[in-house]
């Protein structure tokens, strides 16, 4: 009986299916190649794709100081970081800022994560310094900083800051934090602390940080993850993986968050600068897929999308979103075998220069960065105004004829053959390089390696020439890190002069003098053929038209939430 009944139900369901079939349905088979989503998924080097190959070349070691120089005041007046006067009316925070981030947060311990986690940590932690829209370092918890001696930085900090757990912030807490960051085992930002000697309290609001060598970029570093201050109660080994303990404008809400998916932050009612709190609530959701991140912004599911690929920018702009971009990536060819140990041809500077002249930076920009990368021939792009050097714009401009002449002069009239590594994550740029060099008679044999193996295998001297993508920051650390440490794998020492220029610049009183010294160091690296620029790409975020005040700094993948307002 039951069987018959259920079979009738099945028959009824099938009849329903027939009705549905009769109604028909549209298959929506109109997919075309101009689909934004499809185009974006195939036509560019996506940030996540190249992340696997990315070699972070932040400062690992600082140049040797040659002479001591007196104080250098570098404080500035930020737009939003200074607490407004008591009588000034600050608009009350309103609404929610919804952010689409590239990946999930791995830990809320700023000493245990790299810059990719900045966006998740910055709502809850204050940094000693911040950056403004002009990429200048401005006050955060520190109101001013000076350099009493070349190797020593002295910071003055606010006296009105209270952590979420009620602990007060002062110079002693800052010193303890510096010690914590500098000595934290496995700190991904250990390069910042490579020459750290000690931090010491001067008075309640003043402390000093001493290094073995001058570190001119230290205030900039203090605007990033490594400058985030923890509550003193968290410095004794507390597990911060899911429990941040900072003093930031918002407080992490574990109850509203879903680990690995969405993190939620609610307003810190006792924050020292209410002007930073434009919104009541922030939610950051992980969107690993590029198209999903952009689609979410276009359809209004989120207000900010980070890590937008160059090829997606036009689609976002067409939809009314706004671009927030900072110079960040420096794709280049690195030649480490300048002594010719693996390939004698690379030992001849004329061959290296021929390689440089074979690179068409405009074509590289079009093919890899949707025409959006800066094609200057220097190490710093035009939008990195502090260290940009216009004289390098046309350096090693594309000239295959001259490249062939140089090869002939070097004794290779029939061209040369070189071997480069290739892995899935870097296939488009490397294949483009193969084509460009091939036009000048330089044959590139590719050796397939796995994602994640590029750095280690170049460091182990398996390859003497490779594609790399560095992150740009202050030249004091950046320039040596591009080609000397750790990349002088063959121990040639031919770029030692770079260290000298950088050391001199690090203690220079005059900013222009320092710029010129950095430019000389860069020129040395370019002329030696150690570094062959392929362009300069930006770190991109896009914000909806109703979002106001988004600012992103160097070394960041996410805009600051501070001062951001979302119009309803």
């Amino acid at each position: 009986m039951t069987g018959t009944h259920t079979r009738r139900i099945v028959a009824a369901l099938t009849a329903l299916s027939l009705v549905a079939a009769a109604c028909g349905g549209s298959d929506g088979d109109g997919a075309t190649s101009d689909s934004t989503a499809t185009e974006a998924s195939t036509a560019e080097s996506t940030p996540e794709a190249t992340d696997a190959a990315e070699i972070v070349v932040e400062a690992e070691e600082q140049p040797v100081s040659t002479e001591a120089e007196p104080d250098e005041e570098v404080s500035g007046e930020p737009a939003t970081t200074e607490a407004p006067p008591a009588d000034e009316e600050v608009a009350a925070p309103a609404g929610e800022l919804r952010v689409a981030s590239f990946g999930p947060v791995t830990s809320y311990n700023p000493a245990a994560v790299n810059s990719a986690q900045f966006g998740y940590l910055i709502p809850v932690y204050d940094t000693l310094t911040r950056q403004n829209a002009d990429l200048q370092v401005v006050p955060g918890l520190a109101t001013a900083w000076t350099r009493p001696e070349p190797n020593i930085w002295e910071f003055t900090v606010r006296d009105d800051v209270v952590f979420h757990d009620g602990a007060a912030f002062d110079a002693q807490v800052a010193v303890d934090n510096i010690d914590y960051h500098a000595t934290f085992e496995g700190n991904p930002n250990a390069g910042t602390w490579a020459t750290f000697v000690e931090a010491r309290v001067v008075d309640d609001v003043t402390f000093q940080v001493e290094f073995a060598q001058p570190v001119p970029q230290f205030p900039l570093s203090m605007s990033l993850i490594q400058g985030m201050m923890l509550s003193p109660n968290a410095l004794d080994g507390a597990d911060l993986t899911r429990s941040p303990q900072g003093s930031g404008p918002w407080v992490h809400s574990d109850a509203d968050s879903q680990a690995g998916v969405t993190e939620v932050f609610t307003l810190n009612e006792n924050y020292w600068n209410p002007a930073d709190q434009g919104v009541e609530r922030i939610s950051i959701t992980s969107f690993p897929d590029n198209n999903a991140r952009l689609n979410a912004l276009i359809t209004g599911e989120v207000d900010v999308s980070t890590t937008i690929a160059d090829a997606q920018i036009d689609a976002g702009l067409d939809a009314g979103a706004e671009l927030v971009a900072v110079p960040n990536f420096f794709p280049h060819i690195l030649i480490t075998d300048r002594g010719g140990e693996l390939n004698p041809a690379l030992g001849d500077v004329r061959v290296r220069q021929a390689i440089a002249l074979s690179v068409d930076r405009a074509a590289y920009s079009d093919a890899i960065h949707a025409g959006r990368s800066d094609t200057s021939g220097g190490i710093y792009p035009s939008n990195f105004s502090q260290f940009y050097w216009p004289d390098f714009d046309d350096k090693n401009s594309y000239d295959p004829e001259r490249a062939r002449e140089l090869l002939a002069e070097a004794g290779y009239p029939d061209g040369v053959t070189i071997t480069m590594p290739i892995m899935p994550a870097i296939t488009p740029p490397v294949e483009l390089i193969v084509q460009m060099l091939g036009a000048s008679g330089i044959t590139v044999e590719l050796e397939q390696i796995n994602n994640g193996e590029l750095g280690p295998r170049v460091l182990s001297k398996e390859f003497g020439i490779t594609w790399l993508r560095a992150l740009l920051d202050h030249p004091a650390g950046n320039l040596p890190a591009l080609a000397i440490r750790p990349w002088d794998t063959f121990e040639l020492g031919d770029l030692a002069e770079v260290d000298d220029f950088v050391a001199e610049a690090a203690v220079a009183d005059d900013v222009e003098v320092a710029r010129e010294l950095y430019a000389e160091a860069a020129e040395l690296m370019l002329d030696s053929g150690a570094i062959i620029p392929l362009g300069h790409a930006t770190q991109n975020a896009m914000v909806a038209a109703n979002v106001d005040g988004a600012v992103m700094g160097l070394g960041m993948q996410d805009p600051y939430p501070h001062g951001v307002r979302v119009e309803s």
């Binding site: 690992e60 939620v264 939610s283 897929d289 689609n295």
Partner: protein, 313 residues
């Protein structure tokens, strides 16, 4: 029937053990070093070694396997190496999402596939049949991630009919759930519906040529009744078998569809675990998927026995 159920459940135990063992050792072949992946390139060798010790990956492989297995049988699948969360907790949050997505995909696959299959079978050789046959070939040929991209672009970004992504923070209320699931379910269900349509069509053609159908029609029974009471029921046996297989395919396909619609389900969890070398998360993901597939197959066996009395023995 009960004997069949118990037999199948008992047989699933060694199967799950085999899957666990295989996946554990295959996961070791992943070239990604989790310690290095967690700490980044700047980390010193000592720091990486310390992290490896903390994660327990410096121990002999068999010890790691034994520990994991003994915990797993007690329901403890370990800790996510990247965020410190319990894998079981994370899976618990994600299973309903993927089940809902797979169910949505299956619903579309069954409704569309069976309907079109029956129509094509009834109109074999005519224009309706040709159109459905071509459409089902296209449906099978088109990868679901591509369909997902196209659907997201046209129906979400351009037309704004449905959300382009899973609502951040999760859908609120049944209506938002359904809205969020429509496009992913369609993307997931297209290939399965095409396969089901083809199978239904051939099964219907076969059944409609049988003597008892001809007899029923000769007796003067209305076509609709013959089809609904005799043809569809008998044609459904191979279709049900195929539907069972499609469940596994839907779970596999959800990996990409979840990524494109940013759905926090098992698929995106598994992909993330693979790329990061997150072994506990990967093992947890595979075990859940394996368990679902085993349970679906048991359900399939039972339904097969229900539809075909000869199988019951």
């Amino acid at each position: 029937m009960l004997r069949l159920l118990i037999g199948r459940l008992l047989a699933a135990i060694p199967l799950m053990f085999l899957v666990a063992t295989l996946v554990f050792f295959l996961a070791q072949a992943n070239s990604v070093d989790p310690a290095g992946s967690i700490l980044g390139l700047d980390a010193s060798g000592e720091a990486v070694e310390a992290k490896r010790a903390e994660l327990g990956v410096d121990r002999p492989l068999l010890t790691q396997y034994g520990d994991w297995l003994s915990n797993a049988v007690r329901g403890d699948l370990g800790t996510n190496w990247f965020n410190g969360e319990e894998v079981t907790t994370e899976l618990k949050d994600r299973i309903p999402v993927t089940i809902a997505l797979a169910f949505g995909g299956l619903l579309i696959a069954v409704v569309v596939g069976c309907s079109f299959g029956v129509v094509a079978g009834l109109k074999a050789g005519r224009w309706q049949d040709r159109i459905i046959t071509v459409a089902s070939s296209l449906g099978i040929a088109m990868p679901n991630f591509w369909i997902a991209l196209v659907l997201a672009y046209y129906f979400a970004v351009k037309l704004g009919w449905f959300p382009a992504v899973w609502p951040p923070g999760g859908p609120e209320g049944p209506l938002e759930w359904i809205e969020a699931l429509v496009l992913p379910s369609v993307a997931l269900g297209v290939a399965a519906s095409a396969a089901i349509a083809r199978q239904t069509r051939s099964a219907m053609i076969g059944v409609l040529q049988r003597d008892y159908i001809r007899t029923a029609l000769a007796k003067g029974l209305p076509v609709r009744r013959v089809v609904s009471r005799h043809a569809i029921r008998n044609a459904s046996i191979p279709v049900v078998t195929l539907i069972g297989f499609q469940v596994s395919a839907l779970l596999g396909g959800s990996l990409f569809v979840e990524l494109i619609f940013n759905i926090p389900g098992l698929g995106s969890y598994g992909v993330d675990a693979i790329f990061r070398g997150n072994v506990p998360a990967l093992l947890g993901f595979v075990m859940v998927i394996a368990l679902v597939v085993v349970l679906v197959n048991i359900a399939l066996d039972l339904s097969y026995a229900w539809l075909n009395p000869k199988v019951r023995g």
